[in-house]
């Protein structure tokens, strides 16, 4: 191993939490714009409500815990928690859904564990899973993508629906809502139907999810370029998804969806880039990151295929969060100058 030595003057690199979070915030913009474009104004309300609720809750919790407001309130991490949670929520959600999720995420998953840097689980995913298991009806209020020819709401109409549950004149809720691709696949698969025959390919009317994922990828590329994330976790997670899905698909193509379908539906790309890479709750060693990401990918496909809920990315991330201390323990890189890993049996002999 070579360490090239530079002479002074050195370029000073300032790196702090707030700067890194700013990179992530900018990276979330293209995906959010695409989601508003493709899925309607409801996404915008979700984001605004979740961010507002998360920030206010953080301030309240800091006050209750008698902790200083700075830098916790200005490091923007709580904004990202709210924003990521909001992007997971259905686009026709009532106003209280993002609020309840954000409050739970900040109070229970972040502040009760001790605030930023101490949380064991990704707060946004905890908030999402709590909403998913607690409000099953509200969490299925997915509106059809605008591109798919569904009736779209104007900004005012969307606001009326979000805050008062009112729909314009003749439009019924059923005209707006539509099962997500994962829901559709699940319905066909659980009823013993033929998945391939049901037209469940992403190439048929599912093009919007590809655009959405491309927008998220653009944000991910920006984060990678600015050094906010490394390649290990996203690549390993996508590999885990593709391999597991290919294996299942190879065994029984009538029952299981193809790997590409798994890749572009639900939260795989978004989760791989924005959620699994959370510096606090992810593994911190290079090999550990690969194991962590791969585990999420495998679990996500298994939960989708055999579990009770259509998407499994959030559950998979929380489960692997739980395994992070163990992964980190077994993947410690050797200390420079030593042959053996720290913590291995041969140490100290």
């Amino acid at each position: 191993m070579k360490f090239p030595v530079q002479t002074s003057p050195h370029v000073e690199a300032r790196s702090n939490v707030a700067d890194m979070m700013t990179v992530v915030l900018w990276a979330l913009v293209p995906g959010t714009v695409a989601a508003i474009w493709l899925l309607g104004w409801g996404v915008l309300f979700n984001v605004a409500l979740a961010i507002g609720a998360a920030w206010l809750t953080e301030a309240l919790m800091l006050w209750l815990r008698a902790r200083p407001f700075q830098p916790a309130l200005s490091d923007r991490s709580v904004l990202i928690t709210g924003w990521i949670l909001a992007l997971c929520l259905p686009n026709l959600a009532p106003w209280w859904l993002p609020v309840v999720g954000a409050v739970f995420a900040v109070v229970v998953a972040k502040q009760l564990y001790g605030g930023i840097g101490y949380n064991l689980f990704n707060p946004a995913m905890v908030g999402y899973v709590v909403l998913l298991v607690s409000f099953p009806e509200a969490m299925t209020r997915w509106g059809a993508p605008i591109e798919g020819g569904a009736a779209s709401l104007t900004l005012i109409e969307a606001a009326q629906w979000t805050f008062f549950g009112m729909l314009p004149g003749t439009t019924g809720f059923d005209a707006l809502s539509q099962a997500t691709p994962l829901d559709q696949w699940r319905m066909v698969a659980t009823q013993g139907g033929d998945v391939t025959g049901a037209g469940l390919s992403i190439w048929q009317g599912g093009g919007w999810s590809i655009w959405l994922n491309l927008a998220f990828l653009a944000g991910g590329a920006w984060m990678f370029y600015r050094g906010a994330i490394r390649w290990h976790i996203p690549v390993a997670m996508v590999a885990g998804v593709l391999l597991t899905a290919a294996l299942l698909w190879g065994i029984d193509p009538d029952r299981f969806a193809d790997p590409l379908f798994h890749l572009v539906t639900g939260g795989v790309i978004f989760g791989a880039l924005f959620v699994a890479t959370d510096p606090v709750t992810a593994s911190t060693t290079p090999r550990g990151r690969l194991v962590f990401g791969f585990g999420i990918g495998v679990l996500a496909v298994l939960i989708r295929s055999f579990g009770n809920y259509p998407d499994g990315v959030a559950f998979a991330i929380l489960l692997m969060n739980l395994a992070v201390p163990l992964i980190d323990y077994y993947t410690q890189p050797p200390v420079f100058g030593r042959k053996h890993r720290v913590g291995s049996d041969t140490e100290g002999r």
Partner: protein
């Protein structure tokens, strides 16, 4: 060993050494059965009676049991008591018996009961042991009922729903709906809700204790300022 005062025993069981909030024993039934108030009351009464009777019996036989075999003997005593209670519940509160299911026979394995038998009843007289069982059972039962009430209120929006299972036809409309159905939070009924609810109760008890300790210190400081100031410094 001299018998402790009854007021001390009561304070221990109900607050200072509460089986659920301080000893944190018997978590399995505490978390699993506290999803409605009626279930919680049913299990609380069953546990209370078990504690009362087993403490009494263990206290009576304590001089005849050899130390080497005392634990198996106590477990047999407790198992017999639980079997009697199980049969009574099956006969008289059949629906509740079906709802509680495995958790009635599992009272045998509730650590509080063997802990009180071994830790208290095997060393103290009959009356005191019965009183200890009563207070420990009340302490456990009250936490169970409060937790059950919290979870039913938040999860179902009701209180005492289905009370007729326990109290007979007279209680058929004791159940009240407090929150409308749209405002319920299903998480409270699930296992995480039980853990979070119990954690909140434990935290609440700690907060009260710390507050009263602070007040006591302040009162002491007011009475005799100098030594207290030393202690703080």
């Amino acid at each position: 060993m001299s018998d402790p005062r009854l007021s001390e025993l009561a304070l221990d069981g109900l607050w200072k050494n509460n089986p659920a909030l301080v000893q944190v024993l018997g978590l399995c039934p505490l978390l699993a059965i506290s999803n409605t108030t009626v279930n919680a009351i049913g299990l609380a009464i069953a546990t209370l009676v078990t504690l009362l009777v087993s403490n009494g019996v263990v206290s009576l036989i304590r001089d005849w049991v050899r130390a080497e075999v005392r634990l198996p003997v106590y477990v047999m005593v407790i198992a017999s008591v639980v079997t009697i209670i199980e049969l009574i519940m099956n006969a008289h509160f059949h629906e509740l018996y079906n709802t509680l299911g495995i958790f009635i026979p599992l009272i045998v394995t509730n650590c509080i009961i063997i802990a009180r038998a071994e830790g208290f009843a095997s060393r103290h007289g009959f009356g005191v042991s019965m009183f200890d069982g009563l207070m420990m059972g009340l302490g456990f039962g009250l936490v169970l009922v409060v937790l059950g009430g919290m979870r039913e209120l938040i999860g179902f929006g009701t209180l005492l729903d289905g009370a007729d299972q326990l109290f007979g036809p007279i209680a058929i409309d004791w159940g009240v709906r407090i929150l409308p159905e749209q405002m319920t939070f299903l998480l409270a009924l699930m296992p995480p809700g039980a853990f979070i609810g119990l954690a909140l109760l434990v935290a609440f008890k700690q907060a009260i204790d710390q507050r009263s300790a602070r007040r006591a210190r302040a009162a002491q400081a007011a009475r005799s300022p100098e030594p207290a100031a030393e202690a703080v410094g």
